[in-house]
């Protein structure tokens, strides 16, 4: 195995090695197996796929030549299965343990979702088959759309965006289109300081100037500051509700009224919908557009970073601008609108949307029903408040009072201990937890955002609380080294992100190429 075991000079941070670690011949540690890259294991002549020999006919590829060697490694099936199995064993996952990442909603991913998404009638259909041959798919999309509309109280839904941030862009373009249609040139978008980075990034990409609204001492949007910033040049406000501090914006109805009065529109980031789904309809709060992260609120799996889906519910004012493709009812059946018609603002993505995520989300929704969804959001909020109540005497909550589905702490309780939020998080890894979200939202120093979701049993919450109490006490008793040297038991210790950014190595290269480069 071509393992690089040479250090790169000064590693960051300075860390003690695992005290008395049992050195093994292989470098493996029991079930934790060191695994090389596929490129380091391949052999010419190996393959894991048996394909018939193609007939020896002449190539008909115009003036293009057939390519030379690609450089891909050859492996057999046993090797490939072993390789990826070993890789999987280095990952933390919801299936393995509590994953309290604030604003990510790491709830259980039901296996029925996977089975239903894989039915050949859903998985083996092409987006450009004749519409008459995919009526069930269109009906499924429409069913999901109807659930989303009823749960939110909104007038229309654009199903095509491929992820939350994509949905944000869809909603904001709809707003820009609506303003353009009424001949209204507005240049500013208001965004709370606590907003997720995608919000200002989306607004800026559309050419808007982003104007930050400060928060009050109790973590909500400062209504007076907002009033001062509203004006005839404001196109929209982008608010998250509950907000990124885990708090419900109690003035939201008034905010919506003020925004509309100023001729602007209200975009709502739906990342935290899990706190209120089934209990509160965003339409009743006065919003014009909201993206829904199906991979958060509706349990489609996070898959190591994707894929997601970000359908956007729209008010009457914005419905006419929705993009293609769209499923519409046609007599007893359904058809697809594939060319942007009338006032539609265009197209966000090829084909009709993330069907594989629709079937999973629909399965989840049917499993829960209206009563189950209400119970789920209630339990999510209950779990977060239980954690808040159980930790507020040893850790430092950022705000007073109850929270919604996530509890926010700052690093005040670590002051003077020599332990940072990051160090605290790394120590949690050794305890068998994925850390909560850290350093977000930016408005709180050393933020720690804990979102348990409704999937955690009380026993799990109790152990988590006990662990954090233990770690807090340990930090405050002066044992900083325990934290700054963490993790020690994870598949890797802390990694040198500085070196990775200074001299980026983004792919494997054959050794001869590296030697040439060194000359």
């Amino acid at each position: 195995m071509a393992m690089n075991s040479t250090g790169r000079g000064d590693t960051r941070p300075q860390a003690d090695t695992v005290g008395g670690a049992t050195a093994t011949f292989t470098g493996n540690r029991g079930l934790q197996i060191e695994e090389a890259l596929i490129f380091e294991q391949g052999q010419p002549g190996r393959t894991a796929v048996d394909l018939p020999e193609p007939p020896a006919t002449a190539l008909r590829i115009g003036k293009v030549k057939a390519r030379g060697e690609i450089g891909l490694p050859g492996l057999s099936e046993p090797q490939v299965i072993r390789h990826y199995t070993r890789l999987s064993q280095k990952n933390f996952a919801i299936d393995a343990g509590f994953y309290p990442l604030g604003s990510c909603t790491m709830k259980h991913n039901p296996r029925l979702n996977e089975a239903m998404a894989r039915l050949p009638g859903f998985a083996d259909i092409h987006p450009l088959q004749p519409i008459s041959t995919v009526q069930g798919a269109l009906e499924a999309i429409d069913s999901l759309a109807q659930w989303l509309l009823t749960l939110t109280g909104m007038a229309a839904v654009a199903m095509s965006p491929g992820a939350g941030a994509h949905g944000e862009q869809c909603g904001m373009i709809a707003i820009a289109a609506a303003l353009e249609a009424r001949g209204d040139k507005r240049s500013r978008v208001l965004v709370p300081e606590s907003a997720h980075g995608t919000n200002p990034a989306t607004a800026a990409a559309l050419g808007y100037t982003v104007d930050a609204i400060p928060a009050t001492a109790d973590g909500r949007v400062d209504l007076e500051a907002l009033k001062a910033k509203l004006g005839p040049d404001v196109a929209a406000i982008m608010l998250t509700n509950p907000n990124t501090c885990g708090l419900f914006e109690r003035d939201i109805v008034e905010i919506a009224r003020l925004v509309h009065e100023a001729g602007a529109l209200f975009y709502c980031d739906g990342a935290n919908f899990n706190a209120i789904v089934g209990r509160v309809r965003p339409a009743d709060l006065g919003i014009d557009a909201m993206h829904i992260n199906l991979h958060k609120t509706f349990s489609t799996p996070h898959g190591g970073g994707g894929p997601g889906a970000g359908p956007v519910v729209l008010s009457e004012a914005l419905a006419p601008y929705a993009p293609a493709s769209a499923v519409v009812r046609d007599g007893d059946g359904f058809r697809l609108v594939e060319h942007p018609e009338g006032t539609s603002f265009g197209r966000m993505k090829a084909f009709a949307g993330q069907m594989g995520m629709f079937t999973r989300a629909l399965t989840y929704i049917l499993s829960h029903g209206a009563d189950g969804l209400l119970q789920a959001s209630s339990d999510a909020v209950l779990n977060a408040n239980y954690i808040l109540a159980s930790l507020k005497d040893v850790m430092s909550p950022a705000f007073d009072g109850p929270c919604m589905h996530e509890a926010l702490f700052d690093d005040e309780f670590l002051k003077g201990t020599g332990v940072t939020t990051l160090d605290f998080a790394k120590a949690m890894l050794d305890e068998g937890y994925h850390p909560m979200t850290v350093y977000f939202p930016l408005v709180v120093h050393g933020a720690m955002l804990i979102e348990p979701t409704e999937s955690e049993p009380k026993e799990s919450l109790d152990l988590f609380v006990a662990t954090l109490r233990n770690l807090s006490e340990r930090a405050m008793s002066g044992d900083a080294a325990h934290f700054t040297g963490a993790p020690r038991l994870a598949p890797r210790r802390r990694l040198d992100e500085t070196a990775a950014a200074r001299k980026p190595v983004l792919r494997w290269k054959p050794v001869e190429v590296l030697d040439e480069a060194a000359e």
Partner: protein, 125 residues
Amino acid sequence: MANIKFTKDHEWIRIEGETAVVGITDYAQQQLGDVVFVELPDVGKTLERGKDAAVVESVKAASEVYAPVDGEVTEINKLLQDQPDTVNTDPHGDGWFFKVKLSDTAQLDVLMNETEYKNMIAELT
């Protein structure tokens, strides 16, 4: 040194006749952490006082470096392209960012001297 001035945004500017050398202070590099990349302006670019002149990136943050004065960029520090860590190890010397030809030397008068800057930092910590 009498010919160094400082901005409230932690840039330093060292006057060398009609041109001046600009960099970020030791305090700034400490706050930033390990510098991984520096984006410098093009030679010949016209800078406006207080507006973006360069970007300095660490692993977790990217910060704008503002122009302390109006002027034209005459030279940039190519060393930083291969060794961005020089900003950390020698922020006032080899870690300089760019040189600018001042269009209005009076703009230097409103900047802080070394003592004033040191006082300002003392209040921050």
